[in-house]
């Protein structure tokens, strides 16, 4: 198993703070800008990078991330380009963990073992494949773990205790908890509810717990970072890419804007 995630969470534990996971879609809005964004994320304050593998039908994602996939695919995004980005990033950074997130079909077309081998050698640390539940562990999960990549799973507020046992059977690296915003109650009540869910998840696993979905501001990052081991921000980052693109900013300025936002988010955790 690659060690970068373990090392990172170990270091965060020593610093006594939660980590920031920054999500961007590979190739969004174009390969050049996307690589600039990626390369500057650690310096801006991202502790872990989650790189989306663009897909035409991302049914578990909201409109922001779907649009980012469409921008990437419209400008030549592909699995080969995604892995090239990681390879290029690793030339200067061998510490920051990179997780690939996406859907199974592009991997299946690429060839499962070929993909796992290429991802490992490119410098990837783990995978989150949202449309492969534990019932399908024979598809890719076992081979992924054998290859030496982490298999990171999602939990949701509807994952009950018996489901959590199933979920954690073959997972490693960390847990990604989906904090779907409740439709009732105030935001603070939601955070309370979230905290108790995270506590419940902790009773089932020793893995670090990252919380994501619907987290957009430094205040939210700070609040959730008090009880989670890491906080994931995704849609808000790709929305920044979108608005920069709309204003016609250059690759450099687009990347700058994303990095400034990431540093604001990270400030909530220091």
């Amino acid at each position: 198993m690659t060690r970068r995630l373990e090392n990172k969470f170990g270091a965060l534990g020593q610093q006594g703070r939660a980590g920031l996971v920054a999500f961007i879609t590979a190739g969004d809005p174009d390969p050049e800008t996307s690589l600039k964004i990626l390369n500057g994320l650690p310096r801006a304050g991202a502790d872990i990078i989650e790189l989306g593998m663009p897909f035409s039908d991302p049914m578990a994602d909201g409109p922001s991330i779907q649009l980012s996939s469409q921008r990437a695919l419209g400008n030549g995004g592909s699995m080969i380009n995604t892995l090239d980005m990681v390879r290029s990033f690793r030339r200067d950074d061998d510490q920051t963990p990179i997780i690939l997130m996406g859907y199974y079909n592009p991997i299946y077309r690429y060839g499962n073992q070929r993909f796992l081998d290429d991802a490992l050698s490119a410098g990837v640390d783990g995978l989150i494949i949202v449309d492969l539940p534990p019932e399908e562990d024979d598809e890719l999960c076992h081979a992924c773990l054998t290859t030496g990549l982490n298999w990171i799973r999602l939990t949701t507020p509807t994952s009950d205790d018996s489901r959590l046992v199933t979920i954690f059977k073959n997972s490693s690296g960390f847990v990604y908890h989906v904090a779907i915003a409740g439709i009732t109650g105030t935001r603070s009540a939601d955070v309370e509810e979230l905290e108790s869910t995270v506590r419940r998840i902790r009773s089932h696993t020793t893995l670090p717990i990252a919380v994501g979905f619907g987290i957009r501001t430094p205040e939210q990052v700070n609040e959730i970072g008090r009880f989670a081991d890491a906080v994931v921000v995704g849609s808000a980052l790709v929305d920044t890419v979108k608005s920069a693109r709309k204003e016609g900013l250059s690759a450099e300025h687009t990347a700058d804007r994303v990095h400034v936002f990431v540093s604001e988010l990270a400030a909530g955790l220091k």
Partner: protein
């Protein structure tokens, strides 16, 4: 995932439950109008000069297609699961109308997701759904067609697990949907078996149906799978031609993949990105095919062929002229293949084709294709 497991559990509890099945039978008879007739198409048979051609008249069902066989079964299951809200996806609008219909019948609120592109080309069905009290939500994401409507419905479902049941219209999607849709649609094949034996004293030589996702065809085929003497043919939509890339033929022109929770043949590029299907018939416009069809294809039990837009249009007109039946463009594809094979078959051979929908919804499309203004 737990919500899919709940559906599976309920399905296994009720699939052989006599009260459940008798309730389906009651509505199928008195509301839908089953059994649908098995009709000997005499003039068409004479015109083609070969095998005897029968139509299984599922276009005579309430709402005008086979889709209601399935929505009826699923809503009765949803009621048993105490779900208070129904969602569905639709392409051409036939499944949406069938879902809206049973929701009106059982007084449940219904939301149908439909691609914006499809809303434009299927305006009459959109209005029908509204009349039936259903909210039609336009889907603008992706390419704004059926697959995107299905993505959006899945998103809704995940966000509203507690009270919502998702009625999927085709034999695709995650387990147990393909199996459930097949069981509800198999009434087509079971009736056909009985009717043809009554009329002809034997099983047919060929059964044939069109395929988008494959719900009407699996319903006709399934009760004949263990009869090796019955040749089974599925007809995909070749659109402008398989080699043009503008088609909806997942088996003839697609590759194995995984989408919407099932492994099957998909229209996709070498990077695994899903492509839009093209067909003159909006109901065949799905970039995948039910996983059971993929299996039957690999086993060789069912022969899968394809028919172009133009061939379907010709068959559509032939059917209007010789039989006084305006067929939907979907079964016009199956009919076009009948036109190809019937003439060279001996006159004592029997073909049964599933007339799975009526063509009222398609008159604008056909007029447009024939260059006529109406």
């Amino acid at each position: 995932m737990p919500l899919i497991l709940d559906v599976e559990k309920a399905w296994h509890t009720y699939r052989n439950d006599e009260t459940f099945l008798s309730e389906i039978r009651y509505y199928a008879e008195h509301y839908v109008g089953r059994p649908s007739p098995l009709y000997f198409a005499k003039r068409l048979t004479e015109e083609l000069g070969g095998a005897k051609i029968y139509f299984k008249r599922d276009e005579l069902n309430h709402t005008g297609s086979h889709k209601i066989n399935n929505t009826l079964g699923q809503i009765l299951l949803a009621r048993r699961m105490n779900k208070r809200r129904i969602i569905a996806e639709t392409g051409a609008g036939q499944h949406g109308v069938a879902a809206a219909t049973v929701c009106a019948l059982f007084d449940l609120p219904c939301v149908v997701y439909m691609g914006e592109t499809d809303i434009e080309r299927q305006a009459p069905n959109v209005f029908r759904m509204k009349l039936l009290g259903t909210e039609v939500v336009p889907v603008t994401s992706g390419t704004a067609t059926l697959k995107d409507a299905m993505n959006e419905a899945l998103r809704d479902w995940v966000a509203n697990v507690e009270d919502t049941f998702y009625i999927i219209g085709t034999c695709a999607g995650p387990h147990p949907y393909p199996e459930m849709v097949r069981e509800f649609q198999s009434i087509i094949g079971r009736e056909t078996r009985e009717q043809v034996q009554e009329r002809e004293g034997r099983l047919p030589d060929v059964v044939i149906a069109c395929i988008g996702g494959g719900s009407n065809s699996i319903g006709l085929f399934h009760p004949f799978l263990d009869d090796p003497e019955v040749e089974i043919i599925g007809v995909e939509a070749a659109g402008l031609g398989i080699d043009t890339g503008k088609h909806a033929a997942s088996l003839s022109g697609g590759q194995p993949g995984v989408l919407h929770g099932n492994r099957t043949y998909l229209l996709q590029d070498s990077d695994g990105q899903i492509h839009d299907a093209h067909s003159i018939s909006a109901g065949l416009d799905y970039p995948g095919i039910g996983p059971e069809h993929a299996w039957l294809h690999e086993q060789g039990r069912v022969q899968y062929v394809s028919i172009t837009d133009q061939e379907a249009l010709d068959a559509f007109q032939l059917c209007c002229r010789t039989e006084g039946i305006i067929p939907a463009l979907e079964p016009s594809h199956a009919l076009a293949h009948v036109v190809k094979i019937a003439p060279s078959m001996p006159k004592d051979r029997i073909i049964v084709m599933n007339m799975c929908g009526r063509g009222d919804k398609d008159v604008f499309t056909v007029a447009d294709a024939l260059g006529e203004a109406i």
